[in-house]
Every structure is written in structure tokens, then in C-alpha cells.
Symmetry: C2
Subunit: 417 residues, 2 copies
């Protein structure tokens, strides 16, 4: 089995020893164990800070050389701690473990995983540690880092390449809940959740697992178990497809929310073919991803407003790029609003249950929440609202679809990642 | 040219920026520059401490994986700082730079250096940074560290492989002196010193350069320049052989001292062939190096005392191993004395100038220093004395051979490494 431990599970020598105990226990229970470790708690931030001090715009190749030191340190320490607990372990860098990637520093994608040294270690009875978040570029042989969700993705990719039974992802939350337990006190922990629903939750703001690691798991059929490194609870299993769930049993699964987006509106855009395309092309060329889109019907003057959401981090850049288009497209203005929030309902059940959208909107109306943009997929409804109303909206929807359990949810300090 | 910067030259973001300025200036003066960096000031100690916390006896393979993170960090940061100063730089691990070693973790020896990626970087106009103190094991492909003097050795080995004009070793001392300037206030900085004399100084306690890096330089004819990273002074050049110095001009060069040794005496050893051999074999099997040896003439009872010196760190182990031999060899006792010190005079001139030994011993007698063991080579005289008398001995010898300059030596904070 493959286990992945995040930075907060490894933030001190003491936590490292606890993690080592768990790993050794897993091995003694008869498993071949491969462990992926992120860097210790604050290490990545400290390294980033040092880098900033010597160069405000550090070259990306060197940033990858620098940051990968963090995972090297944590994996070697965990291997040492395992050794102190009576088992033997070898640590490997992403490169040594055969994680081959594209050459995009800071955001490399995994091309292939050929873990022969890991397999060899397992055959000799060792526990193998593999540094997460990193690999080696196929062409240049430079060291690369994998961007957001990199360690989770490393773990799942290894599990796929090694044909592991399961990939356990450890953090300080003990599973996937029907809603964020810090907002909804009677949120219920899910025992299992199919891949497609987990994908939608991850895409809608849930920080438990990263989208790309869930997609990788779905593609290769790797079951993921989300567990807490602070307890022995079984957690939530992410596995199976919604296609396998009998239509009559499909459910509404959970509510996700997202505070990280902002809204951009280009007003008074002349309503001719190509205007919208031009706007979206400029945004795409700036390498900015767009989420929700809304285009009003043209008013009597033949002008329209185009609205879309994007990550707050990209807001200023998007506005700047659009302002440059003003002369060419002759629109009225670019408006920027970062006080928006997104709330989403996810569940395979909505495919077969008419009225879900109605119930959803009624629940929001009842607590006075106005819907600004609405966006749906087969198994998800998302709306953009005022961010001040997010908590109320999450509770109202959770209540309306009777997702709550009887007990109060257990909330760990620092939970959510 | 190859430049090597030690941990104290790199102990903060600020020092790193200064070092980067110097490197960029060197490149702009028209040189191809390769830089070897040790880990930043306290990093290695901090990593060792973390290791100790998770395992009091950490496995060696993992210790190498852990410690090499330190050099990775410093080299990436220096590369970034260079980039901020207008040049471009790529950092490489020892493995990436083609430093191939034996498989002895913690004390690997360099087998070969094939720096093709470094050469490529230079050809493209980049400055190349190479992590010191590390390489990759030829057979296992595991990462190894090179033991004491590892970073200096990496730098010299690279200089040899790249056919560099010179290898500059930077620390917080501005050159090689005729004696430790903290003990002898009128010690003079040497402009140049031949390899064999530097080897003797290094073997006799001088901490400026490590023995193995000087030997490597001598073997491959690489000139070494010892300089301070805090000033622009030219430092001391280590190059040339004593064979090249005309006999008449050969000099007495300097005085070294060493407080790191202890003395072991096995008393009342039955004087038959094989007894001494047995003693030294036992010590050798314990992987303990011996320095000076003294065997008294047999007394009337046909017994002799055998005395030798070794590093204090190995003292207790040596005594323990010898105690085990008591029954077999029937000697009287094993004595241990760690209050000894060694003082040495080095210079090619002593080969052709009779009376050097006499002058040496007279100088010591004049200040009341008793000689316990004496040991010579063609160009060195070393004596073991009471460590409390070391400073007096160093000064007396320095005076007797008129090695001093007119000015007071400049002593930097923390000088000596």
C-alpha cells in the first residue's frame, strides 16, 4: 500500500516519530509499504523566504532545486525514525523513484513512473520512502516540482505504477464530510464517495484532495483513503464510479464552498461575433483559467455585459490585460469584484431526481441569498453569491437536502489541510 | 576557474549576496566560473540535530540523503543571487556534476569526475554551481557524502577534471600563515607554498586546507589559492613542488600545532617478536589511525613500553580494544593521556640545512618544554609535548627560525575555519 503524509503530519521530530510508528505497524500487519512525504511543516515557506531575500524573481529551475531539498529532508528523517522502530527503510528522490515529468519548472506534469528501485527495495523487505512533489524532466534531466497537489499526485501515481491495493492520504482531517465541519456542525463523515463526485467537490472548493490526484486515481482505478494521522479512524474511501451506483440509490453527497474566486465584468461590449472570443483569448494567453461565465442578453443598444470568475490571485493581471483591449473593442468598462463566493451541491442523485435545482434555489432564497451566476454539470450545481453569505448558504443547502448526521462533527485544530 | 565557498561565507542571505557579487565580477573579468558551495553556516548541525532526535544511531545511507539537502539549498540560493546580479547560473548536485564515488556512506572517496553537464553549462555562457561534499556511488547509485574536507576536495577534483587555471578556496582567513596568528602575533602570511610543505602543515594540525584536497591538487597539478571572502587580498597560492626550489633557496616555511591527539601507552609488554604487531593489528582492525609511535628499549626484565598517538575521538575505543588483549599478551597496563599536544616545523630547507633539529630542540628547551616523542620526515619535525605548553612552544620555534614579519597579523573573528 502507498501512504502519503502531508507537511502538518510531519512538522516536528515528535510527529515524525508518530508517523514512523504507524508506518512500521502497517508493515508488521503484512503489507508492502511505500510512503510519500511532503516537506516538514514550515520548511517550504522558509525556503521560499530565503529565495525571496536573495532574488525577488528567482529563476524557476533553481527554485525547483531549492524546494526539493525540503522533501529530501523529511523523507530521510522518516526513514531514520522507521529504522529506530525496528524496520528498515530507504528514501528516494522523485528522480531516483522513476517519476519522469515534463520540463515545466514549478508546475511539471507526470509523464511516466518507472519505480524499479522502489520495487527492488520492497522485494528486499525494505519500506520505501519517496519524496513527493518532485520528479525529473524527461528531456533536460533537470529536477522539477509538480505544482499544487504534487505530493498527493506522486502518491497516487506510484500506487498506480506499483498496482497498490490502496493509496492512503493522511492529513489532519479524518475524512471527507458532507460539508466543512467548521461551518456546519452536524456535517457527516462519508464512508465512501465515487471518483466523479470527489472530482466535483475538489473542483468546487474542497481542499481535502487535489483535483489532479483524484483524476489520476480515477483513470488508473486506484482507491484513495482519506485519513487523519492523529487517529486510527478508517476515514473516507474514494473509489468506484457513479456508473456503478444503481440509479435508484444515487444520492446527494455534499456541499462545497470556495472563497478563492473573484468576478470580472466587461460592460457594454458591442454585440458582434468575435468580441467575446477576443476577450477570452486575451485571458487565455495570459495563462489565466476561467471558471463560471455569464453573458447577458444584448440590450436595446446592441451591447452586452460579459462576466466570468477566476482565481483572486489572477484578478489584477486579468483586469490589466482587458484594459489594454478597450480601444480595440470599444467596451464601456472593466469591473472587478472580489467579494464573491461559490457554493456547490454535488451528487450523482441529481441526474435522476428532478426538482433538485428547485429545492436548491428555494433553500437559498429562504435565507435571503441572491444568486448572481449559476453553473451546472450532470452531478453538480454551483452558484456565485456574496461571500459574506457563504456560511448561511452552505448551512441552508446542507439542511434542505438533509445531509446532516446526528452527532456534532469533530473538528481538529488546523483542519482543512 | 573554480571557486569554493565554505559555510561561514554563506551563513545568511546577506553573505550569499556578497558572494554572488564576487562570482559575477569574476565572470565579467572574462573567466569561465565554476563554484562549489558548502551548506549554509548552521544547516548541517541543525540537520544532524533533527536526525539525532528521531534516531540516536541514524542509518548512514539516510544520513547522506539528509545532509546533502544542505548543499542543495546553498547552491540553489547562490545561483538565484547570481541571477539577481545579472549573470545566469545553474546549480547541480554532486551526482548531476558527475562526481562518482565509492559506496562508503559518510566517508566516500572520489573515483572519477565526469562533469559533462558542467562543461555544457559553461559553453552556454552559464556560471555552474556544484554542491560540495557529495557524489553518487558507482555501484549502488546511492547518494554519498565525502567526509572531512569533502567540499574542498570536490572543488579541487572539479578543477582537475575541467583543467581549470586555479582553484580558489574561500573562508574567513586570508591565507596560510607561518603560524596560527591567534598564537603568534607577528606571524607572516605566505605568498606561495609548495604542495609538499602544505601537505605537511595540513597533516600537522593546520586547518586551512584539508590534506586530501591538497594531495589531489598535487597529483593533478591544480594550483590552489587560499583567500578570504571578506576582502580582496590575493591570499596564498599553493602550487609547485619542493623539487623545483633551488636547494640553496629552500626555506623553513611555518609552524603548525595540533591539540586533537591523545597518547596511549601499553606498559610492560613482553619483548618478543609479534607483540607489537598484535597491538597495532588490533588498533588497525578497529579502523583507528595511528600517528606517532615510540617504543622504549627493553628493560632488564625483557619488557618494553609501546606508545602511540591517535585522535582523541578514538581514544576510548582504542583503550577498550587493547584491554581485551591483556590476557593474551600479558602486558602490565594500558595508559591513556589526553593532555598532549603536537607542534611541528615544516620546510623544504631542512633537507639541506643541518642543525635544524638542534635549533628546534634548543628553542623548546629554552622555554622549558619537554619532548615526549619526536617524529620527522624529510621536510618536517614534529614533537609531542604537554598541551598546556603548546602556545609557548609555537612561539619559541617561530622566533628561533625568524619566521615573523614586521606587522601584526590581522585576525578575523572566527578565523581558523
Amino acid at each position: 500500500m502507498v501512504q502519503k503524509y502531508g507537511g502538518s503530519s510531519l512538522e516536528s521530530a515528535d510527529r515524525i516519530k508518530r508517523v514512523a510508528e504507524r508506518i512500521v505497524a502497517t508493515k508488521k500487519a503484512g503489507n508492502d509499504v511505500v510512503v510519500v512525504c511532503s516537506a516538514m511543516g514550515d520548511t517550504t515557506d522558509e525556503l521560499l523566504d530565503l529565495a525571496q531575500q536573495v532574488n525577488p524573481v528567482p529563476p524557476e529551475r533553481e527554485m525547483d532545486m531549492l524546494l526539493t531539498a525540503g522533501e529530501r529532508i523529511s523523507n530521510a528523517l522518516v526513514a531514520m525514525a522507521i529504522s529506530a522502530h525496528g524496520s528498515e527503510a530507504w528514501s528516494f528522490t522523485g528522480s531516483q523513484a522513476g517519476v519522469v515529468t515534463t520540463g515545466v519548472h514549478g508546475n511539471a506534469r507526470i509523464i511516466d513512473v518507472t519505480p524499479s528501485r522502489v520495487t527492488e527495495a520492497l522485494e528486499q523487505g525494505y519500506i520505501a520512502l519517496v519524496a513527493g512533489f518532485q520528479g525529473v524532466a524527461q528531456d533536460t534531466k533537470d529536477i522539477t516540482t509538480l505544482g499544487r497537489g504534487g505530493s498527493d499526485t506522486t502518491a497516487v501515481a506510484l500506487a498506480a505504477a506499483l498496482d497498490a491495493d490502496v493509496c492512503e492520504i493522511y492529513s489532519d482531517v479524518d475524512g471527507v464530510y458532507t460539508a466543512d465541519p467548521r461551518i456546519v456542525t452536524n456535517a457527516r463523515k462519508l464512508d465512501t464517495i465515487p471518483y466523479e463526485e470527489m472530482l466535483e467537490l475538489a473542483a468546487s472548493g474542497s481542499k481535502i484532495l487535489h483535483l489532479r490526484s483524484v483524476e489520476y486515481a480515477r483513470r488508473y482505478g486506484v482507491p484513495i483513503r482519506v485519513r487523519s494521522s492523529y487517529s486510527d479512524k478508517p476515514g473516507t474511501t474514494v473509489a468506484g464510479s457513479i456508473e456503478e451506483i444503481p440509479v435508484e440509490q444515487a444520492l446527494i453527497t455534499g456541499v462545497a464552498h470556495d472563497r478563492s474566486e473573484a468576478k470580472v465584468t466587461v460592460t457594454g461590449v458591442p454585440d458582434h461575433a468575435g468580441a467575446a472570443a477576443r476577450i477570452f483569448r486575451v485571458i487565455a494567453d495570459a495563462e489565466i483559467d476561467i471558471d463560471m461565465v455569464l453573458q447577458n442578453v444584448s440590450n436595446t443598444a446592441g451591447r452586452t455585459d460579459i462576466t466570468f470568475t477566476l482565481s483572486k490571485a489572477n484578478g489584477p493581471k486579468a483586469v490589466a490585460e482587458l484594459e489594454k483591449l478597450k480601444g480595440e473593442l470599444e467596451f464601456d468598462s472593466v469591473l472587478y469584484d472580489d467579494q464573491v463566493g461559490k457554493v456547490s451541491l454535488v451528487g450523482a442523485g441529481m441526474r435522476s431526481h428532478p426538482g433538485v435545482t428547485a429545492t436548491f434555489c428555494e433553500a437559498l432564497a429562504k435565507v435571503g441569498v441572491n444568486i448572481e451566476i449559476i453553473n451546472t454539470s450532470e452531478i453538480r450545481i454551483s452558484v456565485l453569491i456574496r461571500d459574506a453569505q457563504l456560511d448561511d448558504a452552505v448551512r441552508a443547502i446542507h439542511e434542505a437536502f438533509e445531509l446532516g448526521g446526528d452527532e456534532e462533527a469533530v473538528v481538529y485544530a488546523g483542519s482543512g489541510r
